[in-house]
Amino acid sequence: MTELFVAVLVRDLRLASRRRIDALLPLVFFIVALSLFPLGVGPEAQTLRQIAPGIVWVCALLASMLSVNQLFAGDLADGSLEQMLLAPQPAVALAAAKSVVHWLLTGLPLILVTPLVGVLFDLSAPALGALVFGLVLGTPVLSLLGALGAALTLGLRSGGMLLILIVLPLATPALIFGAGAVGTVEAGLSASGHFSLLGALLIATAIGAPWATAAALRISTE
C-alpha cells in the first residue's frame, strides 16, 4: 500500500517537473484572478482589506477545482489508470497519492504566494498569519474533495463545469471557517475555534475522501 502511494507520488511529481508551465498554471490563475478584484471593486484600501480573505479563499477554491480536472485524465487516456486499478494494491492508496500530489502542486504554491497577496491587499500581519494557517489546513480539504469530483466526472464531456458544480457545495464549510478565521483575528478575537473546526474537517475528509475517490474510480472505469 505504502509502496503504491510513494510510487505514484514520485511518478506524478516527476511528470509535473517535466511540464513546468502546466504545473504553474493554477498559481498564475490564482494571482491573475485575485488582481482582477481591485479593478472590479475599486482600490479603496479599507474595502480591499475587508474582502481579501474571502476572495483569496474563493480564488484558491477555483484554482484547485480548475486544475484537479486533469488529475486522472492523462492516466485514463493512456490506460495506465486501469492498470493501476487492476494492481493488487488497494485503489485507496492511489486516490490518496493523487490527492497529495494535487495539493503539493496547487495548494502548497498558493499558500507560499499568499503573503505576497497579503501585501497587495494591505493585510495586517496577524490577519495574514490567520489566512495562511487557514489555507494550510483548508487547501488539503479542497484537493481531497476535488480528487473525488475528478474521479466521478472522469472522461465526461462537460467534466470541468460539472466537477465545479459537484464539489463547490461540499467545500463551503472549509471556505466559511477559513475566511471566518481572518475575520475573527481582525476583530481582535482568537481564531482557535475556527482552526479547530478546519482541522477536524481536514481529518474527517482525509479519512473519508480517499475511499470515496477509490470507489468513484472503480465506478468510472468499470
Binding site: L148, L162, P169, L170, T172, P173, G208, I219, E222
Partner: protein, 257 residues
C-alpha cells in the same frame, strides 16, 4: 373440462414490488388515489391556512406563506435523505428499481428546494424588508438546492445507466454526510432566521389551527411527492425495460398492467 384457472400468484414478500413490472402495476393502481389525496389535502390545508387560521399578531397576514414554505423546506431535507437512501440501496444490492427511484426523486426534491427559497423570498420581503438575506437557513437550503442540481447534472451527464446510477449514489452519499456539516457551519456563520417554529423539545409557539393547517399541507406535499415520483419512476421503468416482453405487450395493448 377446461376451466380457466387463475395464474398462480406469487406470495407477497419484501421484494415483491422490487420487480419493475409488479411495481408498475402497483403504482398504476395507487396513482389515482394519491392524486386525489393530494388535491383534497391541499385544498383543505390551504383553506385552513388562508381563511381559518388567525392573523399573526406581529407579522399580519404575510406569515400565511408559512403553510407552503415550511412543508416545502421539510420536504427538501427529507427527500435528499430518501434519495441518498434509495441510491445507496440500488448501488449496494444492485437493485435496479431503487436506483430508478432515486433518480425520480431528484427533480421533485430540487423543485421543493426552489419552492422553499422562492416562498421564503416572498415572506422575507414584508418581514425583513429584503427578498434575500445571507442567513444560515436560507444559505444552507440554497446549498442543498445546489447539491440536488449537482446530482441531477452528474447522472444526466453519464450516458451509461449503470455508471450514472452508481456515481450518483456515491455523490448522494457524500452529500448526505455533508449536509449536517454544511448546516452547522452555515449556522455558526450567520443567523438571522427566526428559530424553528415547531420543535420536539418544547410546546409549539403557534396557534393550534396554524399547526393543523401546516401538518395538513405537509401530508399534502407527501402525497404529491409520492404521486409525482411514482409517475416519473413509471416513465423510467418503461424507458429502461423497453427491451422486455412485458413492456412490449403493454405497448401493444395485449397486457393490462
Amino acid at each position: 373440462m377446461n376451466t380457466p384457472t387463475k395464474p398462480p400468484t406469487a406470495p407477497l414478500r419484501l421484494y415483491t414490488f422490487a420487480a419493475p413490472s409488479r411495481f408498475y402495476a402497483l403504482t398504476g393502481a395507487l396513482l389515482p388515489w394519491l392524486w386525489a389525496i393530494t388535491l383534497l389535502l391541499t385544498a383543505a390545508g390551504l383553506y385552513m391556512g388562508f381563511f381559518v387560521a388567525p392573523t399573526d399578531a406581529t407579522q399580519g397576514d404575510a406569515y400565511r406563506i408559512i403553510f407552503i414554505h415550511v412543508p416545502a423546506a421539510w420536504m427538501t431535507m427529507l427527500l435528499y435523505m430518501v434519495l441518498a437512501f434509495w441510491a445507496c440501496i440500488g448501488w449496494a444490492f444492485n437493485a435496479r428499481l431503487a436506483s430508478m427511484l432515486a433518480r425520480a426523486i431528484a427533480p421533485t426534491g430540487a423543485m421543493f428546494a426552489f419552492l422553499a427559497l422562492w416562498t421564503g423570498a416572498f415572506w422575507g420581503r414584508p418581514t425583513w424588508g429584503a427578498w434575500w438575506v445571507w442567513d444560515a437557513r436560507l444559505t444552507s437550503t440554497l446549498i442543498l438546492f445546489f447539491l440536488y442540481l449537482g446530482y441531477i447534472a452528474l447522472v444526466n451527464a453519464i450516458d451509461d445507466v449503470r455508471r450514472a446510477d452508481q456515481a450518483g449514489a456515491l455523490l448522494a452519499l457524500v452529500g448526505s454526510i455533508n449536509v449536517p456539516i454544511i448546516y452547522f457551519s452555515v449556522k455558526w456563520w450567520n443567523t438571522l432566521h427566526q428559530g424553528a417554529t415547531i420543535s420536539f423539545k418544547q410546546a409549539p409557539t403557534m396557534a393550534a389551527t396554524m399547526l393543523i393547517a401546516m401538518l395538513i399541507m405537509t401530508f399534502a406535499f407527501w402525497a404529491y411527492a409520492f404521486a409525482v415520483v411514482f409517475m416519473r419512476v413509471r416513465a423510467v421503468v418503461l424507458e429502461r425495460e423497453a427491451h422486455t416482453a412485458w413492456v412490449d405487450e403493454l405497448t401493444k395493448g395485449t397486457r393490462t398492467p
